[in-house]
């Protein structure tokens, strides 16, 4: 069982950068072939309003580099103290090498900084954070964790099922050795559900062919190629509703804390109804469970938890000591949760991407 407890390790800075183009759902009627009825239906059931999309050619690493530079420019955290750079993404700059290693050079981090990628989506922040806490626990003083995706890399351009939900974001988080109460992690995977969220082709199992890159009308109404992300909405909903409430109950129990003593439950922003249902099941006050991120920014994948903190809770995180429960769940299938404290961390409002940080 992947459970761990850490002491005197904490997040000290968190910045999120989002794509610079703000797109309203109604602006995409033609792109996705929505009529007025279907548009109203999506707005009602999922609450989608806008999403923040990076310009073509901007990579997730570009968003993360801007986020990381914002930390280095505005805090006492020094580049030379970073001992590891971990990048969680499904949209790497290249198939090889790991994008994190390229980012080490772009950020002018020392060569003594180890760097590698983790391929995960919506559970990625929890997995990445757990990895970072583990490395600090093993003796590395400071870690730069970057998480994020740009969706045009894998979302079908005209896939009305998946693409309208998604937003581009890249977050940078610093984790370091510092006096702090215990934090608790719990992580899970179930590869039996790997087909529910998948890019079927383009890897070694199903190689790229002239057919695999051709978009085609799918039985669920989406238009996508075999190299675009497929999501089985019913299975993913089912997975989230069944998995997350017991996961959160378990991590609260592990931490020996009652739900009423948690300041915020920051969950992966899959869709507001899933979040409302989870909150209701846990009998948690709704103001403790932010759920607006997907409506405003789009689903930010691994960046959705920091994206929610920077997007909606910046003041509280910058000015208070908080006890948090965080949980991510998605592709793999994979899921995880943590209970931890933050103490007046550097967490400014979400910022738009500016071109200066691009390679």
């Amino acid at each position: 069982m992947s459970k761990a407890t850490f002491q005197d390790i904490a997040i000290t800075a968190m910045v999120t950068t989002v794509g610079e183009n703000i797109i309203k759902l109604e602006d995409e009627k033609e792109r996705f072939g929505f009529d007025d009825d279907s548009l109203a239906r999506i707005q009602k059931s999922i609450g989608l309003k806008t999403r923040y999309i990076a310009s073509l050619g901007v990579c997730a690493s570009d968003l993360c580099v801007q986020s990381a530079n914002t930390i280095f420019d505005n805090t006492d955290i020094k580049k030379e103290d970073i001992g590891a750079l971990i990048f969680v993404t499904q949209s790497p700059d290249y198939k090889a090498p790991s994008t994190a290693i390229v980012m080490q050079d772009r950020l002018a981090l020392p060569n003594s900084c180890m760097a590698f990628d983790i391929n995960l989506g919506c559970s990625g922040f929890i997995y990445g954070l757990f990895t970072a806490f583990s490395y600090v626990n093993s003796g590395i003083n400071k870690i730069l964790l970057c998480v994020g995706d740009v969706n045009d890399y894998f979302a079908g351009e005209k896939d009305r099922i998946f693409t309208p939900l998604m937003g581009d974001a890249g977050s940078a988080i610093v984790i370091e050795k510092t006096p702090s109460p215990k934090s608790f992690f719990s992580l899970y995977s179930n590869g039996g559900g790997y087909k529910h969220l998948i890019i079927p082709s383009g890897g070694a199992r199903n190689r790229t062919t002239t057919k695999s890159i051709l978009p085609k009308q799918q039985t669920d109404g989406g238009i996508r190629s075999d190299e675009n992300m497929f999501m089985d909405g019913k299975e993913v909903f089912n997975f989230a509703i069944k998995t997350v409430p017991p996961l959160i109950k378990e991590i609260l129990q592990d931490a020996g804390i009652l739900a009423k003593n948690i300041d915020y439950f920051v969950l992966h922003q899959a869709n507001p109804y899933i979040l409302k249902t989870i909150a209701s099941r846990l009998k948690v006050a709704k103001e403790k469970v932010p759920l607006e991120t997907g409506k405003i920014y789009g689903n930010q994948n691994s960046a959705s938890i920091p994206g929610t903190i920077n997007g909606f809770l910046s003041d509280a995180f910058q000015n208070k000591k908080l006890t948090l429960c965080i949980a991510g769940f998605g592709i793999g299938l994979s899921w995880g949760a943590a209970v931890l404290q933050t103490d007046n961390i550097y967490a400014p409002q979400t910022q738009l991407y500016k071109r200066r940080d691009r390679v």
Binding site: D37, S38, A40, R41, I42, K44, S45, I46, D220, G221, D232, G233, K234, E235, V236, F237, N238, I241, K242, P245, N271, Y273, T277, S280
Partner: protein
């Protein structure tokens, strides 16, 4: 208004957008789950919650952990949905 009418009216309301022939005049045996995609099922859940709240004056959460489980879903057909909602109303 009885529960059956609430369900049928909710389905017909959702189907105004979906335009699925088999949902125009649904019967007890109409296979809801196989006809609706995830968004359609979510629409129906929201429509039912809204109508139930209007009538009962209280919020009744319609989704449960089996809502989108193909084997255990209460949305299999109108009959299974009616039995499920009745229990939900009594237990909430």
């Amino acid at each position: 208004m009885n529960l059956n009418e609430i369900i049928v009216n909710s389905i017909q309301s959702v189907n105004q957008d979906l335009k699925i022939d088999a949902l125009q005049n649904p019967t007890d045996e109409t296979q809801l789950f196989s006809l609706l995609d995830s968004l359609g099922t979510l629409d129906l859940i929201l429509e039912l919650e809204s109508r139930l709240q209007e009538i009962t004056g209280r919020y009744i959460a319609v989704a449960n952990e089996d809502s989108m489980d193909k084997d255990a879903t209460p949305f299999k057909n109108i009959k299974t949905l009616r039995i499920y909602l009745q229990q939900r109303i009594e237990n909430e």
